[in-house]
Subunit: 215 residues, 2 copies
Amino acid sequence: MPIERRPLREQIREELLSRLDRGDFAAGTDINEVALATELGVSRTPLREALITLAGEGVLESNQGRGFRFAPVSRKEFTELCEIVAALESLALDRSDPAYLREIAPKLLRLARDFPDRIAEQQVIERHDDEWHDLLLSGCRNERLLDLITSVKAGMRRYAHLLTGDETPLEREQAEHCRVAELLMAGDLPQAAEALRDNWVNGMERMMSRIPASS
Amino acid sequence: MPIERRPLREQIREELLSRLDRGDFAAGTDINEVALATELGVSRTPLREALITLAGEGVLESNQGRGFRFAPVSRKEFTELCEIVAALESLALDRSDPAYLREIAPKLLRLARDFPDRIAEQQVIERHDDEWHDLLLSGCRNERLLDLITSVKAGMRRYAHLLTGDETPLEREQAEHCRVAELLMAGDLPQAAEALRDNWVNGMERMMSRIPASS
DNA sequence: TGTCCCAAATCTGTATTCAGAATTCATAGT
DNA sequence: ACTATGAATTCTGAATACAGATTTGGGACA
């Protein structure tokens, strides 16, 4: 059993993202490097490396002389991110092997129907949603594209916790996933890609009201 | 005249990218941090920060314990990158103000026609090409998308120097740019986006033969 | 009371140092 | 001659140290 040995900066990055999911950080707040490094039990060096990576992904902003801070959320930015991910996932679907997609379609349908109960914790729901999208794209042969999608989605994590307590939209999300899966089973790739884009556009609208108006 | 004060890591990143354009680095070669830092006259800290950024953009690879190296080039990866940029630029065009596009269309046409002579240095041609694309997208209201495009294009810089000495394809590139500009003048956005995608697909094919077969 | 200014404290950006992993090179053994 | 082994070297990953920029807080002055 090979023990995990990978750069601290990556572990730190993931820890920060997971804390972001839990809503531990308020958007727009400054990061104190010494404090955070101490809290994480690492030195500033790998922490800063992680922060720089996150800044590159749009999770953080950096200003000369005043360090990093969590980028403020805004409806405009979330719209922009959704547009981007919709286009990228749609492209990924287009670059997937149709045969493979038909093969996993039943599983996608099952996953979509098994959408966690609305009582479930937000964390669980999100993980389930991610799992579904990951499976959907798992047949994409454009590796760079998959990496890029992951990176862009990291930037969306700042918005995740805003959905806590949401209930009604869940059914919509579920229905849309089912629709994509059904279209894939029917082998209609273009329509499936279209439905996927719709899923993102609708998801964007669902989130909109939850995002505080920019100051 | 305010003197430039911004993080070293950014200046280093740009310096490395510009050296990459000049073909100073062979793809696949390891980077010696101390040597490179000394050569640049900086310490390893900001250099490593720049390297990490470049790794995030796909310019470099990093392997635990053995540092960074320029990611090897391959036809597969270049294809992937072109697919991505084609989709992103096409989306950017779609998210631009049609009126603004019609406004800059004449300038785009002029720029395209002024394509540098084939005798010009590769560097000049590339800068001209970039300038054209930048102007084309300058009206895109999705700022995140513009940043993303810049970042993905950084990953393509490893391929730039492979085109040196190419001559014939220049006219094709010029013709394609003109076509996009003309469609924009006519106000036909969908067709222009289509022509832009074609431009990337064709550019990809032009490059293909220049990329050494992966070992 | 409110505002401006300056000193102290805080924090970032960069350099340097340290520890341990990976590589190299020479040598012993077959 | 070739391979395996291990010590020496080189290099990365991480921690610490340092310099200068930014923020904070208090006191002088209106």
